[in-house]
Structures are given as structure tokens and as C-alpha cells.
Symmetry: C2
Amino acid sequence: MNDSMRSKMDSQRRDSISAFFEPRAVAVFGSLQQQGGPGYGTISNMLELGFRGKLYPISPSGGEVLGLAAYPSLDAVPGPVDLAMIIIPPPAVPGIIEQCARKGVKAVVIGTEGFAESGEEGAMLQRQVLDIARRSSLRIIGPNTIGVLNAANGLATVPYPIACKKFMKGGIAYCGHTGLISAHSHPIGPHAYPLSKLCDFGNKCDINEVDLLDYLSYDPETKVIVMHLEDVRDGRNFVATARKAVARKPVLIFKPGRSEAGARAAASHTGSLAGDDRVYDAAFKQAGVLRLSNWREFWEIPRVFASQPLPKGNRIAIIGLSGGGGVVAADAADEAGLEIAIFTSETTRKLAKLSPRLGSNPVDFGPPATVATDPLDLSEEAISLVLADETVDCAALVMHSGLGGALARVIEMLCRINEKTPKPFTVWIDGPLPSVTEELYCQLASRGLATYLDLETSIKALSMTVAYSRIKSALAQEMA
Amino acid sequence: MNDSMRSKMDSQRRDSISAFFEPRAVAVFGSLQQQGGPGYGTISNMLELGFRGKLYPISPSGGEVLGLAAYPSLDAVPGPVDLAMIIIPPPAVPGIIEQCARKGVKAVVIGTEGFAESGEEGAMLQRQVLDIARRSSLRIIGPNTIGVLNAANGLATVPYPIACKKFMKGGIAYCGHTGLISAHSHPIGPHAYPLSKLCDFGNKCDINEVDLLDYLSYDPETKVIVMHLEDVRDGRNFVATARKAVARKPVLIFKPGRSEAGARAAASHTGSLAGDDRVYDAAFKQAGVLRLSNWREFWEIPRVFASQPLPKGNRIAIIGLSGGGGVVAADAADEAGLEIAIFTSETTRKLAKLSPRLGSNPVDFGPPATVATDPLDLSEEAISLVLADETVDCAALVMHSGLGGALARVIEMLCRINEKTPKPFTVWIDGPLPSVTEELYCQLASRGLATYLDLETSIKALSMTVAYSRIKSALAQEMA
């Protein structure tokens, strides 16, 4: 196969995956009962999200659901269908896939459980389904999955209530092996995750992490690819694809099943063969993939890549309202391989002019703020001075939500700083009232700041931007 | 000094500290201005919390504040005063301490900053203040502190708004070197931390971590002692006292300033000399102190000690609504030194009877729950079966708040389980709506469950109970 043939095949493969995310028409197979019917749930979510394509509920008994006419079968649907979402008992699935193949459906999400993960009988069904798909160049995500989301067009194949009328369109693509990654399990909408696309692989009978890595690395909406993987089945292909993806955008991977106990659990969860974690670690390093350590990092770290520029170096400034928080942050910075910036004498002088207690890094503007005429003005001046210092590559703000009285002004202040500085920074928030902290967190997140509810993770996130910056330069040099 | 003399002195020292937490009358020195006056803030907090002692605002100009008459000086206060809270500019503090000494005040919290932490001039003032105290057997907490809280009597020397009318009385005592540990910075009230007492050491000119360790180890309200320490000044005394405390109750310590950068930051924050972290680590191990790794653990781990029994061994069951969550939890358990329990064949059989997919650990009752007539009944049966298994010492529940429809039933179910089982368990919660997750978290916390918003920390917490269980047995054997 020559290069142009390979490139054509790659591009065809990407097209086949785009049917999952950009379908013009979607058919939904699954109970349309209002109480817990998965077909009903899926359609209800898509209507709430304002899905911009055609939506065809399929039900042998016909009828109507949420104002949409249900069709007795796929053959009865008048126009073409790009994507089918199937949530019906496993034995009936092969017949439906046959219908889909006949209709020219390009993409099928099989949500139902009870396939390869449940034993030999299910594995046989799964092979049968895949055979039909292969014969008709129809692609499958799943089985055993909640499928896909696309923040840009309101597509959501999730049958469970996601309680959200709109996702924040943004640069993070989430993929994984668990329904926990989806919007019915985690507050993706309310917490304003800047989302491009989301995909739960399920049993990966056809489409897997390599396909998505490749597709998302070319997706102009996606700025950072984040994956939760219980296993990788084709290591060589994965490393080659990941390496190419990493040259374009950061790839962050959380790989559970690291321990023997975890690997056993993964085998019974998705039939994953987790393998030796050191092998994964080496493969990720080779590909330039950044590894996430835990579930919290999986959710919190990507935000910084979606909203902040990459830093030029690893020197961090820590600025905030708490000396004690500064010490904790300094430890976290050191452990993450960041250096505490030593300010220029000019910055030190200017800070000391604001208050004699300021000047060194970490900067604690808590004490001067309690006696300042306008604590917010003082904070803004101090933060701006520090971010402008040439010895500073990135900054972590240690903030406080207060009781909410000055919330609007705090938000405006931080947004102004975010607009002005070309350097990445994160904002950690705590406060006495969870509702106010939550409000500040969401408001800042929805305005494109990298906000954190965990102090150490806010620092670790910055260190990941430094790491990616280095990987990217190294790859660029190699490829030059 | 013989043993009975030493014991008498120890008990006197404890009495002198109890004046900080159980004062019958408190005098407050500090501006009574409604906008940001620290005296006003302190009095307002104590009135809101229903402080059960006498409260005397002191102001040279007299007047009235929040319905209380202000006295022009301490000498003018008619009855005795046990505790004085002082938040006035540093140069005026020595004079006030003299007044306190004359009046027979036993305990003084100096909130004001600008003492030893700010330079030589402040250090001189601090020495002067301490001299007066020593001459009159008056004890000092601070300077540079937000002081103390006592959940049992509504005492709170915090000048900043804490937005809370009541703390949940419980077994956790928090001490530390930062205002971040207090109720104006963290949602101690709203998140239902089961609090006994809280103390911010500040500059530790007089009272320090050793005094509090000793006092709290005898405090019947306190079940677990948690400290944030930027330094320990008298290592030998600390280890001896901590060891005795650990024999009575768990002592958990978070020690920032581990790195060189952190140590430098600590020096400028509270004048702490952080020293080599390996020395601290060895001292903590010698004393049987459990070390907390980060700020999140500082807040989240103690809950399990305040509300749950100690486990008999290290075998964990992981039970929940997510297979993916089970894999992550299994990794975390392994990394924390817990063993995944292998259920008896009877339990396996009974679980399989509930659903053919159940039976192995981690238990994922997500799939059967989606098809069960009553998912909550199924969950309760599965959790109860697992907790009753003799191979299980503790359990981690991987839960989901949903949209809140069945919240009351979920809470009742988990409370019933908590009442019945003699084994410790933790509950991790996530869900699509932060407000509902928060509601479930707070409701469960206020009913004495060990709830977590971070999956890995919910497992680490259990491993800490196992660790303390072992330390306690070892100490008991040694002392027998």
C-alpha cells in the first residue's frame, strides 16, 4: 500500500466515524415507555438539547412520543438514516442490525448490555452482529455503552436523564470505557466543561480508542483528547496513532486496572485484558501521551488545556489570599516539577509598594487585602504585576469565594486578567458556602477560566501544560 | 520531679487550655464598626452561633453593638472574664495584655498580624507580650490567628463571616497554622463536619501543637485529632505526647513545607522552620501518627474516624452502580494496601440469586438495577449481603445521586445499613446535578455517614482506619 492509498483509507475511516457525531438523521430503537424506557429517555434528552437533525423513534406498535411519530420499522422511515441507537434486548439486536444494513445506515450505537462482557452466549451474539456490520461497511460503537455526545449539535445517545439543556461547546473530547464519563453521571453541563465530543467505547467490538484518537486528532473542534482506557488491544497501532495525535494536540490518558485487583475487575467489567501496567506506561511515554493519575485528574486537568495557552517554561507564581495555601501550593509545584519563580527586582519593588508584606513568591495578598480600601483592586494589581513578570511562565491563584457579595466583581476581575495575559493560570476556590463557591466555579468555568475545587490538582494541571509544551517541541524538532 | 507532680502539672496545663474552649465570659477587643470591624464580626458570629457564655465588647468610646453594651475597658467589666479575643493594631496589644493580666483573664487569643512573622520589630512586640503573659500565668494563642471554635457551646473567635448558625457537634478536632482551616474559609457548617473543637495556632508564641495534642487527647468530645503543621518546634516532646495521644485516639497530620520551596514559603508565612521532611516522617512514624498527603485528605479523611467503627482487618468490598468505578476503586484499594475480599461461596450464591451478573468483588449492581422492579431494594439487599460476609472487613460504596427523585429513600436506605453493620464503610457520590449531589452529601454527612466527593479518597480513608487499628493494637501490646 503506498502513502496516498493509506492516506485515502485513513480519511475514509474518519468519514465513517463522523457519521456517529454529525448524523443528519438518527433512528432510536428502544422502549418508548415514559417510565424508564431507554428509547424515550434518549429522545427526550436530544429534544431537550435541541438536536439539529431528524429524529425517528422506531416502535413495532407505532404511535407517538414527545410529539414525534414513531415508525413501525426502519424500512418505514421515509428518508435516509445515518445513525441508529439500539437499546433493546440482545437476542433482537442482530435482526435490527440487518435492517440497518439494508437501509444504508452508516453508524450504529448498541447500548444494550449482555454481550461479550457477560459470557460465551453474549460473545457469540457480539460476533454475529460484527459479521453483519463488516459485510455492509456499517460501523458499531459498543455494545454495552451509553454512546456519544456532541456539544455542537445536541446529539446525545444517553438513555438516562442528563438534566441539562445545553453543553458548553469547547475543546475537550472525552472517551472512555464507562458510563461514569457521561452527562448522566457527572455534571458536564452544569459545571461548564468545555466539551467538543464524548464517546463511551463499551465493549469495542468494532470502533476503539485508535479510531477515536485518529478521528479526534483531525477534529477542528477538539483541542485536547482525554481517554479513560481499561485496555488497549492493538498496542503498536495505538502508539503510532497516539504519536501522530500528540504532535497536533495534547492526549491525556487515565488507565485504571493498574493493580492486579484492578485488572481483574476490568476483565469482568468490559472483558478488558489489562496487561502489565509498566508496558502501558512505556507505551504512553513513547507516544508522548500524558498520563492522568486518578479519577479527579481525569475531570479536572483537561480544563486547563481547553482554555489556557501553553507556557514557555516551568516557572510558576503562586498568588492568593492565604499564606497557608501558598505553602501547600509550593509543595505541590515542587512535586509536579515546577520551579517557584524568583521575581525580578522591579516586580518585587512594585509589589512592596502595594504592601510591604508582598514581594516574594508565593504572594500572599490576604493580609494587605484585609486593610486595603478596595481589596479587589489590590488583588488585581498584584496578580497583574506578577503575571507580567518575565520570570513567570504560569500562575496558580489561591482564591476565596466569600459570601458572594462581590461575586460579580470578582468574576469581572479574573476575566479581565484572563483576557490580558498570554500566560496560563488556574484558579482554586474554597469558601464558607458551597452554593457560592459552586456559583463562582461555574461562572468562571463558563467564561473560559481553568477553575479548580482541588488545590493540588490546580497546580498539577499547570505542570501538565509544561510537560505537553516540552513534548510538542521535541516532536516538532524530530519531525523537522 | 516525681510522677504525681508531673501528672498534676499536666492536668493544670490542660485546665489552662480549657479556658480557651469553655470560657464562661469572653471579652472582645477590636473595631465594632459594622463594615469589616473585626470586633463586630466576632461578636456577630458568636451571637449567630448562640454562644452560651457572657460576651463583652470592649470599646474606648463605649456604645452598643448588636444589642450588647460595649465597655470602655476591661476594668469596667463587672464580672470575671476567662477569654479575651484581641484584634487591634500590634503596638496597642501589650497594653491590653496588661489589662487582661490585671483582670485575671486566663486565656488570650491575639488575632492581629504583624508580629514575629513580619520582621524584627514584630518579633520584639511578640516577646514583650509573652513576657507579660508568663509573669501572670495567662496563656496566649497566636498572634496572627483566627483562634478557636467549639461546636458544643457556639464559641468562635473568627472575625470574618462564617455564614453558619450551627456547627454539627461531633468527634473531629482540627488544628492548624492557617486561617484556611476555619469556618470562614471552608464549609465546615454546611458540609456537616462532625466538629468538636478547632484551633488555629498562628505564630505559636505560647500555646502550640504539643499543648493541643495533650489537651485534645483527654477531651471526651474529640474522637480524632487532625493537625495542619508547618513546623514542630520541640520534636522530642511532640513525639512523646503524640505517642500517648495515639494510644487513645487517632492523630492525623498534614505537614506542608515538605519541599524546599514549600519550606521557604512556610518560613515567610508563620516564621516556621520546616526542617528536613524525612525527620518529620520518621518522627510521625515513631509516634504512630497517620500522615495526610494533601489538602483534600486533610478535610475528607477524618470523617471516617468520627463516624465509623474501626475494621478488624484490611479486606475491602467495593459495591456500587458502576463497573468502571469499581475498577478505579480496586486500583485505589490496592495502592492503599487493602485487599479485595474474596466472598464466601454462600455470599456469592446469594448475590447470584439476586442477579446472575453479581457475585464477584467489586460488585456492580448497576446493570441489574436498571432492570429491577425496585432498584433501591436490590441495592440494599446486595450491600447488606456483602457487609454481612465474614471475609469483608470494610466497604466502599460507589453511588450516584441521580436527579434527586428518590433522594429521601436513598438516604433512609444508607442510614439503615449504617445502623445495622458493625463494619466501617464510605460512600462516594457523583451525579449529573451538583445541587442534588451536594444535598445527598450533606444529608448523609449530617446523619453520621462517611461521605466523599472524591473516589480515591473514599478508599484511602478506609485504609487509614486499617492502619490506625494496627497501630492501636501494637501500642496496646507494648503498654501491656
